[in-house]
Symmetry: C2
């Protein structure tokens, strides 16, 4: 097998394919085509076929793709055939909302540790989680072997929290703080910032 690096932009589209395919599953659709899938998510049929072909042959000529099988294959590609433990740092309104969000569990992500540095919050329970003191962040995360963390602390604290997380063994960070984190290569960071998205859209409005 030839190992070639697959462009990150291609990898980034796979979760969207998966999302649409899972909706099809829920609606009882057993089979689909690159055409149909493309229409559902606004991507050309050719591009979907090309993206998928980077990973293998998942369809059948004349028939298309078995939705269940393609979901299974995408799970394997994206390493979703296991439950991923998550750490959550920052239990403000957003942190609380994420702790209660059912979507994580439904997709194989489980928040197993929550932290805050506010004594008024430490010890309280949210969605079955006891909020822990941020001072214990490193021992808890390294002992539990958690690899992914979500940061929902204020911007001013985000960089140092991120460094602690990396120090504790975290390899991927979903950053909700409105700041660009500077971290060692090999740590994957994805940012979620509504302000950035809104400012992008206003360019196109009057």
């Amino acid at each position: 097998m030839i190992t070639k690096t697959i462009p990150d932009i291609v990898v980034g589209r796979l979760p969207r394919y998966l999302q649409a395919l899972k909706h099809m599953l829920q609606e009882g659709i057993k089979t689909t085509s690159s055409q149909e899938l493309g229409e559902a998510i606004g991507i050309s049929a050719a591009q979907i076929r090309k993206d998928l072909s980077q990973f293998g042959e998942f369809g059948k000529q004349g028939t298309g793709y078995s939705v269940a099988y393609l979901v299974e294959q995408l799970h394997t590609i994206l390493k979703l055939n296991k439950v991923w433990d998550l750490a959550l740092v920052g239990m403000g309104d957003l942190g609380n909302a994420l702790a209660r969000y059912q979507g994580f569990a439904e997709h194989g992500f489980r928040i197993v540790a929550a932290f805050d540095n506010d004594p008024a919050k430490i010890g309280k329970e949210v969605a079955g989680l006891i909020i822990q003191d941020s001072h214990n962040l490193k021992p808890v995360i390294s002992q539990m072997g958690i690899k992914i963390a979500m940061i929902t602390v204020p911007a001013a604290a985000a960089q140092s929290v991120a460094e602690e997380l990396v120090d504790a063994g975290i390899r991927a960070i979903l950053n909700y703080a409105p700041i660009t984190l500077t971290l060692p290569a090999g740590v994957y960071v994805e940012n979620i910032d509504p302000i950035i998205k809104l400012q992008h859209m206003t360019y196109y409005l009057e």
Copy 2:
């Protein structure tokens, strides 16, 4: 003046420049260079210069950029020299967290209407907003002239809510529901879905 279409990906980087520049302002930094700005956000100096040059000449050779002036110029480019009104649909945990988030106001976005279809929530107050019945969505939004909406309803309801919003005059949607919306051309949609981001990152983990 020659009007040329600027690639969307360039526009999408401007808010990140703005974010970093505002942090510099807060720290009292008066002048910066494409080099320094690039290091702060992980983008090459050349790309920043090229991106900015699409819109005009904002720097001085030998000196760099006045942070305040560049912030001002980016505000003008992104149409941020006004307060933008936002509608928020779906007052679950996430909707509530967004309603309370101070960041919107700090960046010139003001949530002026909140909706839900749950009778138990309608009429309640959150962060100074009275939650309104989703049935009134269209008249309220069109009368107030709101152009941007955020959707935080369950996936099953998101498409029809989005259609109602467009019908009411909404031109841009920040979609938190885990589904790809199908809407007329000319409506700008940005998606925020943590699951998609997490699934993208797990590809790179073991």
